[in-house]
C-alpha cells in the first residue's frame, strides 16, 4: 500500500451507519474533516488519535513517549508511540514488552501475574480529597498503577532461609470486593448499542467494580480484537513493526503482540473464588485523611467494617489479613505538625503498620512542569480495558484524559508502596509461610500425618462419611460439600494459602510440594474445583522451577496434571476460564522447555482448540500457537529427523484461513507468508505487497530449518494456497480501493453480511470486503448478539466458534 493511500482518512459517513447498525463494531477515532488524498490535509484528521492511541499503547506497555501536552499537534512521536512499537516500551519500565523474545519474558509474565492482592478501603473524606485531584475512582485509582511495579529490588527469603533478590515484584491494589461476582460489563441495551451512561462518572459503582474482574473470555477476545483492528488501521502509516517485518524466523513469529496481550488479559483481574487464594487479600490498606475530624474513630469504624458489615468478604475468605493504616496528609491545606501528631498517635494505637502519605490536594494540569501523567494500569482486566476504550471514544476530545499528578506526589506514593511491600507484606507472607509450613504442612507430610490421611481414607467411618453429602463438622473431611468450600481455618484451606503465598513469593519448590499434597487430599474429598486448581498449580509450579526437567517421567506427570486439571475444570466445575488458563500456561511453559516438549505444547494448544474454550480470535491466535510450537522443534542429525516443519506449515496455513475469515488481512498475510516459506513455495502472488525473496530465504535459515529441498509437489495443496493468496489479495485490494469507491457510493447496506457469507466470500473471487471490515466490525462473534461465553456456546450449539472450522 502506498503512502498516498495511507494518508487518506476514512470518511466518517460511510462508517457511521454501519456503526450504529452493528453493535459490536469498533469505533475508531472520529475523523472530522473530509479531505482525502492530500497528506497535508489529512493531518488534522489524525489529531484525534492521541487520546485513543495512548490507550492502545498503554494496554501493552506504559506509554513512555506519550506527548506531554496531549493535544495541539500530532507530532511524529504520537503515532510511533502508539500501538506496539518497541519505542513505547523503552521507558525504563522493566516489564516484558508486548511480545516474548526470550524465554525469560514469559516466565516473568507468569510470576508477575500471580501477585499479592491488597484491598483498599478509604474513608469518605479521603475519597473526596483524591477526587479533587481528578481521580474519580478515589484512592484506589490513584495508587493502583504504582502497585504494579515496586521500585527497586526486593529480597525475599524462601522456606530454606536463603534469600533471593527480585526486581519485578508487584502487588495489585483492588477494592475489597472487586473480585466477587461475575463481570456484568459490557451490557448492551436493547438497541444493541453500548449502554455507556452508567459509567460516565464512575457513579455506577457496581458496573465499575465488576469491570475490574477478569475471567471472562469473551471480553478478552473483544479487547484483543480491538487492538488488532486498531493496529491494522494504523498499519497504513507503516508504523507497526509486527506487520511490516517479513521476518518469519521463530522469534519474529512468536512475538505476536496480540497473543501476548491475550495472555496478559487472561491473567489480569483474577476473580475472587474459593478454590484459589491468589486474589484473596493479603492485606488491606485503610486510609483516612487529615481532613477528618475524628480520625481514630474513623479508623476504628473502617476496621470493624472489614470484619462485620458490608465490607466483610464471604466466609470462605480468610479474614485475618493484615490491616495497614494510612494517613493521607493534605500538603496544601493542612498543618503538617498536626498530622505528625496524629500519625504518632496512630502508631501507638495500631503498631507499626502505619504510613503517613503526604500528597497535595490541588489538581495538576498537564501543562505544568512538575506534573506527570499517571501511568496506565498494565494489569487491568479485559472488561475494564473495553470500558476505557469506550469511554475515550465516547468522550471525543483531543485531550488525553489520563489524570496528572505532581512529581512529588508520585514519589511519595512510590515510596509508600515500597514501604508497604518491603516492610509489611513480604515479611508477613514469609512469616505466614514459615508458620504454616511448620505447623500444618510438616505435620501433614510427617509420619503421623500420612497415617491420619490413610486412616481417614480406609477406616469404615471415614469411608462412610466421605460418601455422604452433608457438612462435616470435625469429621474426617473438612470439605463442606453442600456449599462447596473449605472453611478458611481448616488445614486444607491454610495449606492452599501457604502454597499460594509460596507461589507468589516465587518459592516454586515449596509451592509444588504443597500443591501435590493438596491434590491427593482434594481428590479424596471429591472437592473437584479445588482438585483442579491444585493440579493446575502443581503443573505450573513444576514448570516454573528453573531446573531442567528432561526425564520422561516428569513430563508425563505434568501431562497427567494438566489433563486432570482441565478435565475437572471443564467437566466437573464448568469453569472454562480456568481451563483455558491452565492449558495456555501449560502450553507456553512447555514450549519454553524447547525441542523435547514442543510436541506436548502443540498438543495442548490443539486441545484448547478442540475443547472450544476460545472464541474466533483466540482460535486463530492459538492456531498460530500450534504452528509456533511445532516450529520450535528442531530436527537432529543430517536427516533432520524429528523436525516438524510440515506440521508447522500446516497450522500456519490454518491460521491464515482463520484470519481471512475474520478479515484481518495483515495477520492473514503474515501467517500465509510463513506457511509459504515453510512449504518452500515463496510467495510471488502479492502484487501489491512485493516480498523480498531473499529476505524470506534468510528467514528460513534463521529458523534453523533446511530450505525445503523438495518443492511442494501436491497439486491440490498448491491450488489451495493459491486460492488463499487470491482471496487475500482480493481482500487487500478491496480494502485499499475502498477509499476511492467511497466517494461515489455509500455501500452501507453491504455491511450487514452474514457470517457465513463473509467466509464464503472471502474465499471466492468476488469477495467484497471493504475498509470497514478491516476495522473489524465483522468479527463473527460480533454479529452474534449473545455474549460469547464458552459455556454458553457449549450449551447453545455450535454457532459462535465454529465457522472457522467450516472453512477448514
Amino acid at each position: 500500500m502506498t503512502p498516498s493511500q495511507d494518508a487518506t482518512p476514512i470518511p466518517l459517513p460511510i462508517t457511521a451507519p454501519a456503526l450504529s447498525g452493528i453493535d459490536e463494531s469498533i469505533k475508531l477515532p472520529r475523523r472530522r474533516a473530509q479531505s482525502p488524498g492530500a497528506s497535508l490535509a489529512s493531518l488534522p484528521d489524525r489529531r484525534s488519535s492521541p487520546s485513543l492511541s495512548s490507550l492502545f499503547a498503554s494496554t501493552s506497555s506504559l506509554a513512555g513517549s506519550r506527548p506531554g501536552s496531549g493535544t495541539s499537534t500530532p507530532t511524529a512521536s504520537t503515532i510511533p508511540s502508539s500501538v506496539f512499537s518497541p519505542v513505547s516500551r523503552s521507558n525504563g519500565a522493566p516489564f516484558p514488552g508486548p511480545g516474548f523474545e526470550g524465554t525469560e519474558e514469559l516466565r516473568n509474565l507468569i510470576s508477575r501475574s500471580f501477585a499479592p492482592h491488597v484491598g483498599v478501603l478509604a474513608s469518605e473524606d479521603t475519597e473526596e480529597l483524591v477526587q479533587q485531584k481528578g481521580f474519580q475512582g478515589g484512592l484506589l485509582d490513584l495508587i493502583r498503577p504504582f502497585g504494579e511495579h515496586i521500585t527497586g529490588k526486593l529480597a525475599i527469603r524462601d522456606s530454606n532461609g536463603s534469600s533471593k533478590v527480585v526486581d519485578d515484584f508487584g502487588i495489585r491494589f483492588m477494592g475489597l470486593k472487586d473480585g466477587l461476582g461475575y463481570p456484568s460489563f459490557p451490557r448492551k441495551s436493547a438497541e444493541g448499542v453500548y449502554d455507556s451512561t452508567n459509567r460516565e462518572l464512575n457513579s455506577g459503582k457496581p458496573s465499575d467494580r465488576w469491570s475490574r474482574t477478569g475471567g471472562d473470555i469473551s471480553h478478552i477476545e473483544e479487547a484483543v480484537g480491538r487492538h488488532i483492528a486498531y493496529a491494522e488501521m494504523q498499519n497504513t502509516g507503516s508504523i507497526s513493526d509486527y506487520f511490516n517485518s517479513r521476518n518469519i524466523s521463530s522469534a519474529g513469529w512468536e512475538a505476536s503482540p496480540f497473543y501476548a496481550l491475550y495472555l496478559r488479559r487472561l491473567l489480569s483481574g483474577l476473580p475472587l473464588v474459593p478454590h484459589e487464594t491468589f486474589s484473596h487479600p493479603v492485606a488491606c490498606v485503610i486510609a483516612i485523611s487529615s481532613h477528618s475530624t475524628s480520625p481514630i474513630e474513623e479508623l476504628r469504624r473502617l476496621y470493624t467494617s472489614t470484619n462485620i458489615s458490608d465490607s466483610r468478604l464471604p466466609q470462605w475468605v480468610n479474614n485475618e489479613f493484615l490491616r495497614y493504616y494510612v494517613l493521607l496528609h493534605d500538603e496544601d491545606n493542612d498543618d503538617i505538625k498536626q498530622s505528625m501528631g496524629l500519625y504518632e498517635q496512630m502508631k501507638r494505637n495500631f503498631g507499626l503498620h502505619c504510613h503517613l502519605l503526604r500528597i497535595r490536594s490541588a489538581q495538576a494540569v498537564p501543562s505544568d512542569d512538575e506534573s506527570v501523567r499517571i501511568p496506565l494500569c498494565e494489569w487491568m482486566s479485559a472488561s475494564e480495558e473495553l470500558a476505557e476504550i469506550e469511554k475515550r471514544e465516547a468522550a471525543d476530545d483531543d485531550v488525553d484524559p489520563t489524570p496528572c499528578i505532581f512529581e512529588s506526589d508520585a514519589t511519595a506514593i512510590r515510596s509508600f508502596v515500597r514501604e508497604l511491600v518491603a516492610s509489611s507484606i513480604v515479611p508477613l507472607m514469609e512469616r505466614m509461610c514459615a508458620q504454616w509450613n511448620e505447623q500444618i504442612l510438616s505435620r501433614r507430610k510427617g509420619l503421623s500425618g500420612r497415617f491420619m490421611s490413610l486412616s481417614k481414607r480406609w477406616t469404615p467411618f471415614g469411608a462412610s462419611s466421605r460418601n455422604s453429602s452433608g457438612p462435616m463438622s470435625g469429621g474426617s473431611s473438612n470439605y463442606d460439600s453442600l456449599q462447596g468450600f473449605y472453611k478458611p481455618d481448616t488445614p486444607e484451606a491454610l495449606m492452599r494459602k501457604l502454597a499460594d503465598y509460596a507461589f507468589m513469593l516465587r518459592d516454586y519448590k515449596l509451592a509444588q510440594s504443597t500443591y501435590d499434597v493438596l491434590r491427593s487430599d482434594f481428590n479424596s474429598d471429591k472437592a473437584w474445583t479445588y482438585y483442579a486448581g491444585a493440579s493446575e498449580m502443581v503443573a505450573i509450579a513444576a514448570l516454573m522451577t528453573p531446573n531442567n526437567m528432561s526425564s520422561k517421567a516428569r513430563i508425563e506427570n505434568i501431562d497427567q496434571f494438566l489433563e486432570a486439571s482441565s478435565y475437572s475444570y471443564v467437566t466437573r466445575s464448568a469453569a472454562p476460564y480456568y481451563a483455558l488458563r491452565t492449558l495456555a500456561l501449560g502450553l507456553e511453559l512447555l514450549r519454553l522447555r524447547g525441542s523435547s516438549a514442543a510436541d506436548d505444547a502443540a498438543r495442548w494448544a490443539s486441545r484448547i482448540l478442540e475443547s472450544r474454550l476460545v472464541g474466533p480470535i483466540g482460535h486463530a491466535l492459538f492456531t498460530e500457537r500450534v504452528s509456533a510450537s511445532y516450529g520450535c522443534r528442531r530436527g537432529v542429525g543430517n536427516l533432520n529427523s524429528g523436525s516438524r516443519t510440515r506440521k508447522s506449515a500446516l497450522w500456519a496455513l490454518l491460521a491464515t484461513s482463520e484470519w481471512i475469515a475474520l478479515e484481518k488481512t495483515d495477520l492473514a498475510e503474515k501467517a500465509l507468508h510463513r506457511a509459504c516459506a515453510l512449504y518452500g513455495v515463496l510467495p510471488g502472488a502479492f502484487e501489491d505487497t512485493p516480498v523480498d525473496i531473499k529476505e524470506a530465504e534468510d528467514g528460513v535459515d534463521k529458523l534453523g530449518l533446511p530450505m525445503r529441498a523438495y518443492p511442494l509437489a501436491f497439486g491440490e495443496m498448491k491450488a489451495h494456497i493459491d486460492s488463499l493468496r487470491e482471496a487475500l489479495s482480493e481482500q487487500r485490494r478491496m480494502a485499499d480501493g475502498y477509499d476511492d469507491m467511497a466517494e461515489t457510493l455509500m455501500p452501507a447496506d453491504d455491511e450487514e453480511l452474514e457470517v457465513e457469507d463473509v467466509i464464503s466470500e472471502s474465499l471466492t473471487v468476488n469477495a467484497r470486503p471493504n475498509r470497514k471490515s478491516l476495522i473489524g466490525a465483522q468479527m463473527p462473534f460480533g454479529v452474534d448478539v449473545a455474549p460469547l461465553s464458552p459455556v454458553r456456546t457449549r450449551d447453545e450449539g455450535e454457532e459462535g466458534f465454529t465457522e472457522s472450522d467450516k472453512i477448514l
Binding site: L609, E610, S641, R646, K647, A649, Y710, A713, T802, L808
Partner: protein, 168 residues
C-alpha cells in the same frame, strides 16, 4: 469411514492417490469427505510425514501403525514404508461427523458406525497395506518406470481398489 490413500516418493511428491469409502456395514465404497475439508487431506497427509520420518527409525517394521491424527476433522493416519523409501499413507476419517460442526475426536469415535475394534481395524489396514505393497512392487518393476515418477497404471488402480474392497 472415508479413506484417502496416497503413495509418496522420496522427494515428498505424491506418486499415486486414491480416495475411497468403506465397504463394511453396507458401505458402497464411495468416499464421503466433507466438501469443506476435503482439500485438507493432502495437507494432513503431507504434515504427517514429519512424524513418519521420525518413527521410521524407531523399529524395523514396515507397517508403522497409526502415526498421526488431525483432530479438527477427526482424521487418523496410518503409514507403511517400503524398502525403497516410498511411503504409503492412509488417512481415514469417520463418516457421519459432517453434521456436527466441530468433531472432537471423542464424539467422532462414538458416532462412527464402527463395530470393529481398533485392533481389528489396525489388522485390516495392515493387510491392506501388505496387499497394496504386493501390487506396488509388481507395478514398479516395469522397466519404463523411473523412481519418483507418478504411477498412472489403471491396472494398479484397480488392484488398489480391490484391496480396499477386500479389507476395508
Amino acid at each position: 469411514m472415508s479413506y484417502y490413500f496416497v503413495i509418496i516418493g522420496t522427494k515428498d511428491n505424491p506418486l499415486f492417490e486414491h480416495e475411497f469409502g468403506t465397504y463394511r456395514q453396507g458401505g458402497d465404497g464411495i468416499s464421503r469427505f466433507r466438501e469443506d475439508t476435503r482439500h485438507m487431506n493432502q495437507f494432513v497427509a503431507h504434515a504427517s510425514l514429519d512424524i513418519l520420518e521420525e518413527v521410521q527409525w524407531a523399529g524395523g517394521q514396515m507397517y508403522l501403525k497409526t502415526i498421526d491424527r488431525y483432530p479438527p476433522t477427526g482424521s487418523t493416519i496410518s503409514a507403511f514404508i517400503t524398502a525403497a523409501n516410498a511411503k504409503f499413507l492412509l488417512l481415514h476419517q469417520p463418516n457421519n461427523i459432517s453434521t456436527t460442526s466441530n468433531p472432537s475426536s471423542l464424539t467422532a469415535n462414538r458416532n462412527a458406525p464402527t463395530s470393529t475394534t481398533p485392533a481389528a481395524t489396525d489388522e485390516a489396514i495392515k493387510n491392506f497395506f501388505n496387499d497394496v505393497y504386493d501390487s506396488w512392487v509388481k507395478t514398479i518393476m516395469n522397466p519404463f518406470w523411473r523412481v519418483d515418477t507418478p504411477v498412472r497404471s489403471p491396472v494398479f488402480r484397480s488392484r488398489v481398489a480391490a484391496s480396499a474392497k477386500k479389507y476395508l
